[in-house]
């Protein structure tokens, strides 16, 4: 009998609001410890939290994009726990009436389409950062991150493989980025994923699940799922028992280890948060948020394919990141040439991103310069080689294309006489190759063509040169 894996996810997304969820401290990442802290987020007695309107709006945006029901009357609850990362000894979260419920996200994994159920999305405050003294006996607390707004997006246990999980996370990240609500930088912790996993005999009763934390990349998530699946099957195969526990993934060594047992430790004693008023989302507000939703990746893909006649493959590459599709749209609009712009973005720009190890989120290119280049190459003013060279110079050094082309003599030579002269010289200096060609060696033509282009300094019009060379060899 076969084993089946059952996985559910909890994703924490830090919202890109300028200020914290309940106070006006800035949410910027990093910085000197405890420099973005006030009495509210430090949990001083007598302070009163006040909800950041943008947090509720961002939550509704995500809920709408994930086809959720929006809870029209929602509220906050206190989750009590003792750990010094939250100075109040409780986290303000939502248990009884989360802002969004029962949504869906359709993903494609292993060539198959699958609809993943979203159980709920709730708003909560992030905790601070602890640094433990290795040698001594102390813990240092930095509350800069305390109160940074978070959305927790919880799925039903609908996944059966690592591939499905990764496909979901990629689509979720893409959606959050396009909505402009989260920068999704896993390395900075703005997107954090906990994996709940159990195994069972195919069609049998649900097994005991473990929760995995400290997963810092999609790759690590895939590896951790494979490891945990294998671990549980091994234990159960030998007649053993899986314990419900939180496990920490150690990506360097490719293993996970138990952190704490959930059997006796956690009792959060939730109760309604008395310091915050409930939130009521009326029709008008909901309509306004709906109207402010930007075009999402899958909608952009459809538009590119239908309106611009761009290939499905290119449309997919362009929409993998908001910055890439943003660049494409600028170049396409300014040049009036969407097809050539698509080739540029999916070809040269993607190649340069890979070559320089640049993440799409760090991409900053002047679309006007690229649009000018698209026009120069499609008008036949520069040839493909000069085009690629100048694109690279814009990418790496932000040069001004027209200046760069002039300085490096890259403007295409469309001058008949110059081309004929170059052909003449090439032929007289390479009589061997000329003889070879005349003796039927087709390959010699390519060599002679290279010689002609070389004499034109690489900026010759290749069509013109080919024709002149053929004429001369007749």
């Amino acid at each position: 009998m076969n084993w089946e894996t059952v996985i559910g996810l909890e994703v924490h997304a830090e919202l890109s609001a300028a200020s914290k969820i309940f106070c006006g401290c800035a949410t910027t990442f990093g910085g000197e410890p405890n420099t973005r802290v006030c009495p509210v987020c430090a949990g001083m007695p007598g302070t009163l939290p006040k909800l950041n309107r943008a947090v509720a709006e961002y939550a509704v945006r995500v809920g709408l994009a994930l086809n959720c029901e929006i809870t029209r009357h929602c509220k906050f609850d206190r989750k009590n726990y003792f750990y010094p990362d939250l100075p109040k000894a409780y986290q303000v979260s939502q248990l009884y009436a989360p802002i969004c419920r029962e949504g869906r996200l359709t993903v494609v994994a292993d060539g198959k389409e699958k609809s993943i159920g979203i159980r709920e999305i709730h708003m909560e405050e992030d905790a601070g950062k602890l640094v433990h003294d290795c040698s001594g006996n102390r813990t240092f607390m930095d509350f800069n991150r305390c109160g940074v707004p978070l959305l927790e997006i919880v799925t039903h246990p609908d996944f059966q493989s690592g591939a499905e999980v990764i496909a979901y996370l990629e689509k979720l990240r893409e959606t959050l980025l396009y909505l402009g609500v989260c920068d999704c930088k896993m390395q900075e912790g703005s997107l954090r994923v906990d994996v709940n996993l159990s195994v069972r005999r195919t069609g049998g009763e649900m097994g005991v699940r473990t929760e995995m934390k400290n997963l810092n990349s999609f790759k690590a998530i895939g590896r951790a799922i494979d490891y945990e699946t294998k671990r549980q099957i091994e234990i159960l195969g030998k007649g053993g028992r899986v314990y419900q526990e939180t496990r920490r993934w150690d990506d360097e060594n490719g293993v996970s280890y138990g952190m704490r047992s959930k059997e006796n430790a956690q009792d959060y004693r939730y109760f309604p948060e008395p310091d915050l008023l409930p939130i009521e989302i009326d029709d008008q507000w909901l309509k306004m948020i709906k109207g402010s939703l930007p075009e999402l990746a899958h909608e952009k893909r459809e538009r590119y394919i239908n309106d611009y006649k761009i290939s499905e493959k290119e449309a997919f590459i362009i929409t993998t990141h908001k910055n890439i599709s943003g660049l494409f749209e600028t170049v396409s609009e300014l040049s009036g040439n969407p097809l050539e712009s698509a080739h540029l973005v999916t070809g040269e720009i993607m190649r340069l991103l890979n070559q320089t190890d640049t993440l799409p989120e760090d991409l900053s290119l002047d679309g006007r310069k690229l649009a000018a280049l698209v026009n120069l190459v499609s008008d036949g003013k520069i040839n493909r080689n000069a085009y690629r060279e100048t694109v690279e110079a814009v990418f790496t050094r932000d040069v001004i294309p027209e200046e760069y082309i002039a300085e490096n003599g890259l403007m295409m030579i469309n001058d008949d006489e110059a081309v004929i002269e170059a052909v003449k010289t090439a032929l007289s200096e390479n009589s061997g190759a000329v003889a070879d060609y005349r003796a039927g060696k087709e390959k010699a033509f390519g060599f002679l063509m290279g010689q002609v282009m070389k004499r034109l300094g690489g900026s010759g019009n290749p069509d013109m040169a080919r024709k002149a060379l053929k004429d001369a060899l007749k």
Partner: protein
């Protein structure tokens, strides 16, 4: 709700405190007293009063998303029992 030694020990464990026998005894009495007082609420006739999660009728008290200056660090740290000039310091606590 019955406050007994078992419950006090559970709460002690949950809040990571260590109580002396004397403190446990006193807390059992104090918490029992508090609950007895709260139990008097049950004597009220609440028939027809709808269930609610908040004492006020108001909803939607928002602030706009604007980052303002945080407190001076030295001022915030002043409230800490122990600090090192940049961070709050607590006895080592590892999850």
């Amino acid at each position: 709700m019955l406050i007994d030694e078992k419950l006090i020990e559970y709460l002690e464990n949950l809040s990571c405190l260590t109580l002396s026998d004397g403190e446990k005894e006193r807390l059992t009495a104090d918490l029992g007293e508090i609950l007895n007082n709260m139990a008097r609420l049950e004597e009220l006739n609440a028939k027809g009063v709808p269930e609610r999660s908040h004492p006020f009728d108001d909803v939607n008290a928002f602030r706009e998303d604007e980052a303002v200056c945080s407190f001076d660090r030295a001022l915030i740290l002043k409230n800490a029992p122990e600090e090192n000039g940049e961070a709050f310091v607590a006895p080592k606590t590892v999850e």
